[in-house]
């Protein structure tokens, strides 16, 4: 779907991030690369919440740090508010740091234990020279009130707060400079469920109050469905499906998304019992040596020879010549029809784990060989 350029806050175009694996102490040589993010293109529209889901190790956090340019890119371009930020150096990035903020996963690790809360929340003001002395203190206390903390706790240490309160401190810090975009890297994963709801509500209230744009990373599918306008699903460094939250949860087109959704827990036990689970074979392949073609083919129930050789693009798909929703992008040659039963599908190709089982070799041995 074409969106007016003025509506787009951040555009990532074919973003690639590899981490080199080196050997040797003084004379290092590269022995391999972790393909953490491998050609991701997406846009973030003003005022929306873009959810980012996927298993552990699929590159969600790396992508987030590429979008905020905490990591240098291996290749690709990122445009923020019309400006190409993909090759800026650290000094040139300073103005961007005011516009883009991050909220981190671990509320215990993301606050310096040796500094007082007032000084932590006041950090953005100090770094960007925005406010000083009593004015900074006043602003910090306003922020604390805004996120539901007692402003009198200005002089306490992070250790004096609970996990949920600490995450509020992180939110206050991110909000200090009134950024346009906040990248939330699993902001609620480390909190217990009742606190998760509080933080999510806080984030949503702040979004409507300040017109914020969020990138919301999580592995909890129900949380992402609740907060997101659009959702991107990642697998092994690639976006496999990108659609509005409603469309994605109702009619997932990619077999991987279907499997992921079928694994999410459902609150109603009756419904849960009747539900069909799609159980995937094998493990996530190593990102050091990702599979050819479609990265999901070794585990996909619908895989064919085409999936091994041809890499599917992330585009709107059609089934039997009938175009599907044009805003629903899927990187799959054989998208799942609404109502199709994936559990009945059998792959047309021999997949590593199954092949090995058929040959009488322990699947574990093959997997062990695949790992570095």
């Amino acid at each position: 779907m074409i969106v007016a350029e003025s509506e787009v806050l951040l555009r990532a175009d074919n973003v690639v991030k590899y981490f080199p694996i080196t050997q040797g102490i003084i004379f290092k040589h590269e022995v391999g690369r972790v393909h953490a993010v491998d050609g991701v293109s997406l846009e973030i529209r003003k005022g929306e919440t873009l959810g980012l889901v996927g298993e552990s190790g699929c590159g969600k956090s790396t992508l987030a740090r590429c979008l905020t340019r905490l990591y240098p890119l291996t290749s690709g371009t990122i445009t923020f508010d019309g400006q190409d930020i993909s090759t800026l150096n650290r000094k040139q990035l300073r103005p961007l740091r005011r516009e883009v903020q991050m909220i981190f996963q671990d509320p215990y690790g993301s606050l310096n234990p040796r500094r007082r809360v007032g000084s932590i929340i006041g950090d953005p003001f100090a770094i960007h020279g925005v406010a000083d002395g009593p004015e900074r203190k006043r602003k910090v206390q306003e922020l604390m009130e805004l996120v539901g903390l007692n402003p009198e706790h200005y002089n306490r240490f992070p250790a004096d707060f609970s996990g949920g309160q600490r995450q509020r401190i992180g939110v206050a810090r991110a909000l200090a400079l009134r950024p346009k975009l906040i990248v939330c890297d699993e902001p609620v994963s480390a909190l217990d469920v009742s606190i998760q709801a509080q933080i999510i509500n806080l984030l949503q209230d702040l979004q409507s109050e300040f017109g914020l744009t969020y990138v919301f990373i999580a592995h909890d599918l129900s949380v992402v469905e609740h907060v997101s306008d659009r959702v991107a699903v990642m697998y092994l460094g690639k976006v496999t499906e990108l659609a509005s939250a409603e469309a994605l949860y109702r009619n997932a087109q990619h077999p991987y998304t279907n499997a992921l959704l079928s694994a999410a827990s459902v609150a109603d036990p009756d419904q849960a019992r009747e539900r069909q689970r799609i159980v995937l074979v094998g493990d996530v392949p190593s990102p050091v040596n990702p599979p050819s073609g479609c990265r999901f083919h070794p585990r996909c129930p619908k895989a064919t020879q085409r999936c091994v050789t041809e890499q599917p693009e992330l585009t709107a798909r059609s089934i039997d010549g009938e175009p599907l929703d044009e805003a629903h992008l899927t990187a799959c040659h054989y998208p799942v029809k609404p109502g199709e039963d994936l559990a009945l599908a059998t792959p047309e190709i021999a997949q590593t784990a199954r092949e090995a089982e058929a040959a009488g070799v322990l699947a574990q041995d093959v997997l062990a060989e695949e790992r570095p």
Binding site: T68, S110, N112, R114
Partner: protein, 320 residues
Amino acid sequence: MSMTELAEAPTPAGDENKPRKAVEGRSPWQLAWARLRKDKVAIICAVFIVLLALVSIFAGPLSALIGFGPTDQDQTNGVSTDGLPVGPSGLHPLGTDNLGRDILVRILYGARVSLVVGISAAVAAVIIGVIIGLCAGYFGPTVDTILARIMDVVLAFPFLLFAIALVTVAGPSETIEIVVIAFFSWASVGRIVRGQTLAIREREYIEAARSLGASDLRIMFVDVLPNLIAPVIVYTTLLIPTSIVFEATLSFLGVGIIPPTPSWGNMINDSQAFYQVAWWYLVFPSLALILTTLAFNLLGDSVRDALDPRSERLFAARKK
């Protein structure tokens, strides 16, 4: 010792979880101070060190009270008719040396040398070590490799030989002594700081600071350094006695403080020829050295326990 200390000291976890009426949170320093105050050994050692410092500052008036200067030779009562040192008496509380000089007065002046050289060398070593260690740990592998190798080279030097050679060339003086001691001590501080920095720079709050646009210098000194202060303070208090002994060694070998200026090292050296007839000449300067070293070491141990009760045996391997 440490068991009773631990039993008396409140654990930090229990202290931090307790609901507090005061709005102001107690800083880790305040908690450590509270623990340190309950440690009797630490208090005794601190009192001893403070007394020693006062005594060395007021060595002049005190020696006037005794009636002899540090280089005054008491020819009438300070030497026996055979020309040997005289034992402790009302006139010379700790006896005299072979030239009739008062040992107590000379020990007081020697304390001045020991403390000045010991503390300034330790502080200089810690400052150099912290800066180089921070840089090595913070600025990636290339800088780290270079600086870590330099530290290895310094640690591998035969320091006594080098010290003697340098002093021979430059001529003995207090300044040269401080420089030599600091030069051979910073590398071990640097290593500790480097290791801690390597661990801390991977923490999420460093990444958070980076995402806020903080400069490297700001991250190093505002975010990393406060987390290093505890081991650095502990190391400093343990480095002071080492430096004092180092100073005494140099003076003993005749390449430190030049006689007649008294230092514990050159007093011990001078006493060698007389210890069979004048035990006080050897015993009292040695005792001063031992007690001072012991006090600093015990205080260092207590400070370490107070700052971080969990890492109780962090420096155990270092203690001799």
